[in-house]
């Protein structure tokens, strides 16, 4: 029982760690690159405009997809490691 509880706590804190990293990237590409940091990235040009514009219209969406698939893959692996997969 004690051992199991420790495992469960470790599983949950690993999940919280993955979530924090993912949310950091999620906020960085959308609120960061696409909005607040856009003036700083203005020097990097992409197809007639700047990198911030690309992140606002396409880059952040592509990053969101990558975040979800990486999270799902890592979590499904974690489920197996801790023996909690269905």
């Amino acid at each position: 029982m004690a051992d199991h509880n420790m495992n469960a706590a470790a599983y949950w804190s690993a999940n919280l760690r993955y979530i924090s990293i993912s949310l950091f990237v999620w906020a960085l590409v959308s609120y960061g690159f696409a909005i607040l940091l856009r003036p700083m990235l203005a020097g990097i040009s992409v197809g007639g405009t700047d990198l911030g514009f690309w992140f606002a219209q396409q880059g952040s969406i592509i990053t969101f997809i990558a975040i979800i698939f990486i999270y799902a893959w890592k979590m499904n692996k974690l489920d197996k490691e801790y023996g909690v997969e269905e």
Binding site: M1, H4, N5, A8, A9, Y11, W12, N15, Y18, I19, S22, L23, W26, S30, Y31, A34, I35, L36, R38, P39, V46, G47, G48, T49, D50, G52, F53, W54, A56, Q57, Q58, S60, I61, I62, F64, I65, I67, I68, F69, Y71, A72, M75, N76, D79, G83, V84, E85, E86
Partner: protein
Amino acid sequence: MSQFAINLIFVGASFALYIGIAIWARAGSTKEFYVAGGGVNPVTNGMATAADWMSAASFISMAGLIAAGGYANSTFLMGWTGGYVLLAMLLAPYLRKFGKFTVPDFIGDRFYSKGARLTAVVCLIIMSVTYVIGQMTGAGVAFSRFLEVSSATGIWIAAGVVFVYAVFGGMKGITYTQVAQYVVLIIAYTIPAVFISLQLTNNPIPMFGMFSTHVESGQPLLVKLDEIVRELGFQDYTADVSNKLNMVLFTLSLMIGTAGLPHVIIRFFTVPKVADARWSAGWTLVFIALLYLTAPAVASMARLNLLTTIYPAGPTADAINYAERPDWIKNWEQTGLIRWEDKNNDGRIQLYNETPAFAAKAEERGWAGNELTVNNDILVLANPEIANLPGWVVGLIAAGGIAAALSTAAGLLLAISSAISHDLIKNIINPQISEKGEMLAARISMAGAILLATYLGLNPPGFAAQVVALAFGIAAATLFPALMMGIFSKRVSGQGAIAGMLAGLVVTLLYIFTYLGWFFIPGTNMLPNTVDNWILGISPLSFGAVGAMINFVVAFAVSSVTAAPPKEIQELVESVRYPKGAGAAVDH
């Protein structure tokens, strides 16, 4: 064959397909009715969720909004996709593990209170009903333009079709029709975009075409577009935004709101396992992105096409003669969505931005005001005509627009009917009801919800444009925080959650009503809806994110002074966190 006949064939064939699926996928039990039996493949569910989510607003209006606003309206692109990251990590897997039928189910159980369940039901019904009005009117517009019937007849036809597959098939029928609707709408959206991208940039993939060279001018497409709009007094298409706080909060409200929409959340109850719920969120976003990555390309290319049609020899030369305008302008003039008024009596169509800064230049050119008004909503619908594509593409767009509206309407109607039959009737009013009785109640509430939606679609309450913002604001300020705290905190109590939801709801509604009028009645707003009057420059449409923060703060504050949730509730929270078994509380 006439265009009308072609449209009729496309729309008729798509309807026959939906009804065929409905007959094949009849629901036999409440589990099938509410969650399609819980056995939907994650990729299939992703496709169905994408159709469920992409409404008439995504299909018809979004590209027009981006075309008009340029960079500033990127908020819709990020806001309506970023919510899936939140769903995939913060809600979907745990709610799937919880394994019941509705969103109020979780809130009622986790916060051990009928009051919490009832609050959730009320929020759900307000947001879903307001949202469904837009779908019914959207379907009505598509019908009236393409099938030459009145908008009202169109709404009745749409209601009839939804009735057949939603009442008999429940979630099972809705799931498989949504898959078919996704295929129809994505093909309809993509084909004209590919042709337009080829015409303008030689690149067959619109999302890349948008960032490549404009063949005619040899310049990058966006540079060319910026040049033209600047010459006509508009802000640069790629211009930055000064009110960044509002842009951040608006995007955040759309994201949190998306993650808190019950009709989207319940789609994740239909997959077999927790792992599938995670994959399914990823697939959903892939299918949404196919449209959302094309939309900004459609927007910039349609804006460029429109302006080069009006100014064939460039924006510094004379505008086109009204008599020589292309057929698509004539077609859409009949609907009143494009209007021309010859203010300087020169027989030409001057389109420009009437600002004080541009006044001198306009006078110099002999212009007496902007003469062409173009409704944003027609850009996608008129795209095939602008690109001179064959009639069948127009028919496809008609079927696609209707598919987008119907798939979202069906998802919303299911969320409403299950909240009534399952949460109100089964869990609050009459817990003794039999399985068969609950099934009948579900079908009757579905039929009732369709009638209500039809009535409101026929008599839209004058605030149709703002209601979507209202739905997102409420979802962001009420359900999302309650669900998230229910999963990630064991300490938040029933009283805390109810207080948080009510605080979020009331403050958000107050802020919206202050600027948009009490219950959206024109003239009853207490402050003019302009940037100068907004608190810290926050628009009422961006307020959902602030409402969510208020919800979190109030819920934690009240929880800290009320008793902790009972032990079995803390065990429930433990159990939803682990995909297998009842969680750490159970000694295996």
